[in-house]
Structures are given as C-alpha cells and as structure tokens.
C-alpha cells in the first residue's frame, strides 16, 4: 500500500477511530463511586432559610398583637407561664430572622466562589 498521499493516511486514521462504545452500565458505575454529597450544608441552609421565611410571614401576617395572643394561647395550651405583657415578640422574631439570614449566608458562602 502506498501511503505517500497524506490525505489517504488521514482518512485511514479518522476511519479507524470510528468506534462506538455502548454505555452498558458505565454511567451507573461512575455515579456509584461519587463521594457523598459535598454540600451537606445545603440542606441545613434550606431549613434555616425556610424557618426564616416562615417567621417573616408570621410576623407580617399576624403583627405584634396577634402574635402576642398566639403566644398567650400557646402558653395556656401547654400550661407554661410566659411574661406576655410588654414582650417584644416582633423584635425577637426579627432578631431570629436576621440570625437565620446570617447563618444561611455563612453556610452557602463557599458555593459561589467558583
């Protein structure tokens, strides 16, 4: 065979590489070897964000008076004593919200560097 013709050799090399490899479970094997989720903090962050959002909704919906009544109701239900008068419930809720936001940002901060 005369392979002086460069194009002939090129074509031969290209044709030789046309091999189809069926998956045959390869992808599943790769997925099985992956390490455990590298973002376990994501679930925690989700919970924190969820709790924060819920708190915000409660505060916005019920307001100080209603929330105070809710606390009184809960305290009566569970027969515990809570000093309701003058309790800064919304303030406490906002503090919790802020804390939740800080925790959420802290727990996911590394994911956006890349």
């Amino acid at each position: 065979m005369n392979l002086d013709d460069d194009e002939k050799l090129n074509r031969l090399l290209r044709d030789d590489a046309q091999e189809y490899v069926d998956d045959a479970g390869f992808t599943a094997r790769v997925m099985d070897t992956l390490p455990a989720s590298r973002h376990p903090a994501r679930r925690r962050a989700g919970l924190v964000v969820g709790a924060t959002a819920l708190s915000l909704v409660l505060v916005a919906t019920f307001g100080r008076a209603a929330l105070g009544s809710l606390v009184v109701l809960c305290s009566r239900l569970f027969e515990i004593s809570i000093p309701v008068a003058g309790t800064p419930v919304p303030l406490a809720a906002f503090v919790l919200c802020a804390l939740g936001c800080v925790l959420a940002v802290w727990s996911v901060r590394g994911e956006f560097r890349a």
């Binding site: 065979m1 031969l12 030789d16 590489a17 189809y20 490899v21 790769v30 997925m31 992956l34």
Partner: protein, 180 residues
C-alpha cells in the same frame, strides 16, 4: 461549550446535581472510553477503569474548570494524565509494544489482509504521546490547540509528534504490504 453542557456544569457546581453530572458522563463516556481503549491497546478493563477515575476526578475538580477550553478538552486532559500515571506504574511489566509487529514483519512480509488491523498494530508501535496526538487530532477531531491543551505541551511539539508519527506509520504500513 454549548449551552446545554454549560447548564449541566452549573447545576453540578451550584446544586451538586447528580443527575446533571450523570448527563455529562453519558455525553462523553463513549468518546473517552474509545480514546482510552485505543491508547491501552484494546485493554477494555484498564481503559474503563481509567475513564471512571477521570470522571471521578472531574467531579471533584469541577470547580477548577474555568471554561477556557471545551469541557471535553478538559476531561480528556484529566484522562490522559491518568493514562500516563498508569503507564509509569506498569512500565516494568509492559512488553515493548510493536516488537511483535516488527518481528512479524521481518519474518513474513506477506501483503496485509486487513488494513485496519495493520493500522492498529502499526499504531501500537508508536510512542504513547505520538499515538495520543494522532488519536486526539484524527480520532476525536480536536484542533491542534485543543490537543496540545490535553497533552500539556506546546502546539509546535504536538505538530512534531504528529509529523513523526505519520512518517513512522507510512514506513511501517509500506513495509508491511509493500506491493499493494
């Protein structure tokens, strides 16, 4: 890099989306395994092990992928490094590739019955980096720049490798079947 692939990569990075990574594996497994099988001279088990390790490393290092090259180029670079590592560790055990072909050629210079088989045997006589350069540029259709990225060498070196490899191939194939 197409948008679909970029989207899959983003989903893996941001949400650790395993389904997205599985899609990436499905997209590239055939080409990567075929490439490694040729480099491993048909040792399918070794090639698949190396491909699996390459995907695992790609998953671990995905945040280091900057998108400067195609994902395929980056992935093949990882796989090629894996292949070189395995070659180093097995070097003592490896039979000199191509010796069989050279011996066969000197003993019975009969015309080749199967050109593709001849080519496969002739390719096996090349140095691993020459084989890799040919496979990347002709088999995978990568540009010289992409292939040089995969191999971690300058473009000039890659072109020299291809030139030398093709000269050797011509010599081997002509010697193998000089009259056909």
């Amino acid at each position: 890099m197409d948008t679909c692939e970029a989207d899959l990569i983003a989903r893996v990075l941001v949400r650790d989306d395993r389904h997205a990574f599985a899609e990436l594996v499905k997209l590239h497994q055939a080409a990567l395994r075929a490439f490694l099988r040729r480099l491993a001279h048909g040792d399918h088990a070794l090639a698949d092990d190396l491909a699996q390790e390459a995907f695992l490393e790609a998953y671990r290092k995905l945040s280091a992928y900057r998108g400067e090259a195609r994902f395929k180029t980056w992935l093949f670079g990882i796989a090629y490094n894996r292949f070189r590592q395995s070659l180093r560790t097995q070097r003592e055990k490896t039979v000199e590739p191509g010796q069989a072909l050279l011996d066969a050629g000197s003993e019975s210079p009969a015309p080749a019955a199967d050109l593709r088989q001849d080519l496969g045997e002739a390719l096996a006589t090349l140095r691993p980096e020459e084989q890799t350069a040919l496979q990347l540029c002709y088999g995978e259709g990568l540009s010289h720049e992409e292939a040089s990225r995969v191999m971690g060498c300058p473009i000039g070196t890659l072109k020299s490798l291809i030139l030398r490899a093709k000269q050797r191939l011509r010599g081997l194939l002509d010697a193998y079947s000089p009259t056909s």
